[in-house]
């Protein structure tokens, strides 16, 4: 009997030692037992022929996580005076952008860049106009404590959520226990944002062979996709962005240094991220500082400020005949075909709160 006990003891010791990954031989504690059960994985559906949607391993999308993220996205609880939510500046029928040139924070302060649209954000690498953050999760950490935006320190935000009658159970369902942290708040918001999928515009239907362009749209599509219009290099289908940074000659002297403030590389002065053009016709203002209407934004490529800092892709246009008014009209018409009515009216992306 003693021998059997000794044998079992040796085996147990060896088993633990064999499977431990720790250099010091300490045994890792077992994972905590979930209080609320595991959340239900949610597969984000993308039509065939479109890029596979990247989802970070550390934040798999779940039904409960998306539900929680939606509540948070639309809840003013995350602003200092409980008057503003993410959705205050990212409005669904504007492709989750803002109609105002610069959004106002709770104190009335205005930023100096436009609240960008959120369309197919799962494919976005570096976010913000200058790409200073590298994931949706990281992006969501920024507006809440920003004094010019929602102006609520994260510890206070967490305390509010902990004291809410709703949220502890929602975090429990989404993450397996009711602990509330900034990390979990932003993960949930990012999960919700990954469901902002827009692949049912006229462009998509034409691509699938179930619709056709008007003659003007077809002409615009050709210009968009050849070197004459040359939109495709920075706004490549099917996402209509390449998520790359460009100085498009907006100013003769750089006003906003853009990407330079992130990299410190003088070659990045005045560069901003090429935004997705999906649903652009549902928006009112364009460029990082909202200086243009949609048509003006297209016209700009006839009238940019030239200089050594300007992207060669733009500069080469100087030697070519400008686009005609009719060509600009047709490109704008084609851009209208990138609107996805289902996206801006999708009830699953709308506020979960009663009006």
């Amino acid at each position: 009997m003693k021998l059997r006990l000794l044998t079992l003891g040796i085996c147990a010791t060896l088993l633990i030692a064999a499977c431990s990954n720790d250099d010091d031989g300490t045994v890792k504690p077992p994972p905590p037992v979930a209080e609320c059960g595991a959340p239900t994985p949610l597969k984000l559906e993308v039509p065939p022929g479109y890029p596979q949607m990247p989802v970070p391993a550390g934040n798999p999308t779940t039904v409960q996580g998306v539900e929680l993220g939606r509540l948070l996205f639309y809840d003013p609880i995350l602003s200092g005076d409980s008057t503003q939510a993410c959705a205050s500046c990212h409005i669904q029928n504007l492709a989750f952008s803002d109609s105002r040139r610069f959004s106002e924070g709770i104190t009335g302060a205005k930023g100096n860049r436009h609240a960008p649209a959120i369309v197919n954000p799962a494919y976005t690498g570096d976010t913000f106009w200058d790409g200073r953050v590298h994931s949706l999760e990281e992006q969501a950490t920024k507006p809440v404590p920003n004094q010019d935006e929602m102006n609520l320190p994260w510890p206070v935000a967490i305390e509010r959520l902990e004291n809410s009658p709703t949220y502890p159970d929602k975090f429990c369902a989404a993450f397996g226990d009711s602990k509330i942290t900034m990390d979990r708040v932003t993960k949930a918001i990012a999960q919700f944002e990954r469901t902002f999928i827009s692949f049912n515009s006229k462009y998509d239907r034409v691509r699938r062979g179930v619709d056709s362009y008007t003659a003007m749209e077809a002409g615009g599509a050709r210009l968009f996709n050849n070197e004459r219009g040359d939109c495709f290099h920075c706004h490549q289908a099917p996402l209509f962005t390449t998520s790359t940074f460009h100085n498009t000659g907006l100013d003769s002297v750089v006003v906003d240094r853009g990407r330079y403030d992130v990299t410190g590389n003088p070659a990045d002065l005045g560069k901003f991220k090429a935004p997705s053009l999906r649903n652009c016709a549902d928006r009112f203002v364009f460029e990082h500082d909202s200086r243009f209407s949609l048509r003006e934004a297209v016209e700009h490529y006839n009238n940019f400020h030239d200089g050594l800092d300007v992207d060669p892709l733009i500069r080469v246009r100087r030697s070519r005949a400008p686009m005609t008014e009719a060509e600009i009209d047709s490109i704008v018409e084609f851009l209208g075909a990138l609107s996805d009515p289902d996206f801006i009216t999708n009830p699953n992306l709308a506020t979960p709160y009663a009006p």
């Binding site: 064999a18 890029p51 495709f232 390449t242 998520s243 070659a267 300007v310 992207d311 060669p312 080469v316």
Partner: protein
């Protein structure tokens, strides 16, 4: 007897589990018969190391220029040994001079041999170049549908500024973009091409590490490497630099003809055991 059998069985089980749980089943030191390598890319202009954004270079046609952007795709990257065999290093590789993550190819378990050259295809062959066929290549490299329905990807995007007028120093942009072409009614023009670069035979010892440096002299794209040949392939920015060359068969042909003259390579052994 029964107790001893239990003890032995349990010990065997533990040994098996211990082996099964090991994170690193590597061959014991000194017995590794393979080697590892890093493939690196270097750039020169007329033999001078490339510095981005400086208007310091001149084409053979005498036009000053700078380089701001360099992205390219290569495929079927192989090392060749003196016994006629080759080993695949990578099927498709995308490089961006502004993205560190794309700038080194790390290869493991290379067989021991005496290596003499490297080869690859510049770009992607038509059979290997279809839209969405290589999701690791970013969207900015996608070839536009209007120049060949869903042909796939650019081979190269080399961009910068050039001096249009040496008196006024007026500058403009150039975009040397290469890729396949399929214009209405025409066959598919495959402008990708094979590259082979020999180097001083190198032998990386077992368990060792080597560095394969592939150099691209960017002026080579604009240089007629066979000036005696009746076909002039000199590429002049003043006529082609800022023009729409992606759909220009003549420009693409010049670049395809000049391109193979851009490449050289070295393989350097950095350590290991010699048995």
């Amino acid at each position: 007897m029964s107790s001893i059998r239990v003890l032995l069985t349990a010990l065997c089980l533990c040994v098996l589990v211990a082996l099964g749980c090991s994170d690193d089943p590597a061959t014991p030191p000194g017995e590794d018969t393979t080697w590892t390598a890093d493939v690196l890319f270097g750039f020169t202009v007329n033999g001078t190391p490339l510095a981005l954004n400086l208007m310091d270079y001149s084409t053979p046609a005498g036009t000053k220029y700078s380089v701001k952007t360099l992205r390219f795709v290569i495929s079927d990257l192989r090392l060749h040994s003196d016994d006629g065999k080759s080993v695949l290093l990578k099927s498709v590789h995308y490089y961006d001079v502004s993205d560190l993550a794309t700038q080194t190819i790390h290869v493991t378990k290379l067989p021991h041999a005496n290596y003499v050259s490297v080869s690859f295809r510049w770009g992607l062959s038509t059979a290997n170049n279809a839209r969405d066929s290589h999701p690791e290549i970013p969207l900015i490299m996608v070839w536009p549908t209007e120049l060949g329905a869903d042909l796939g990807y650019h081979y190269m995007q080399l961009e910068g500024n050039y001096e249009k007028d040496p008196v006024t120093h007026e500058t403009g942009g150039y975009t040397t973009h290469t890729g396949p072409l399929h214009l209405n009614g025409d066959p598919v023009y495959d402008f990708s091409f094979p590259v082979s670069a020999s180097f001083t035979p190198a032998h990386v010892h077992e368990g060792g590490h080597g560095e394969l440096d592939i150099n691209i002299d960017l002026n080579g794209w604009y240089t007629d490497h066979s000036p005696g040949d009746p076909v002039d392939t000199q590429y002049d920015f003043k006529t082609l630099g800022d023009q729409m060359i992606m759909g220009n068969i003549d420009a693409q042909t010049k670049l395809q003809t000049n391109g193979p003259g851009c490449f050289s390579a070295t393989l350097t052994a950095l350590g290991g055991h010699d048995h």
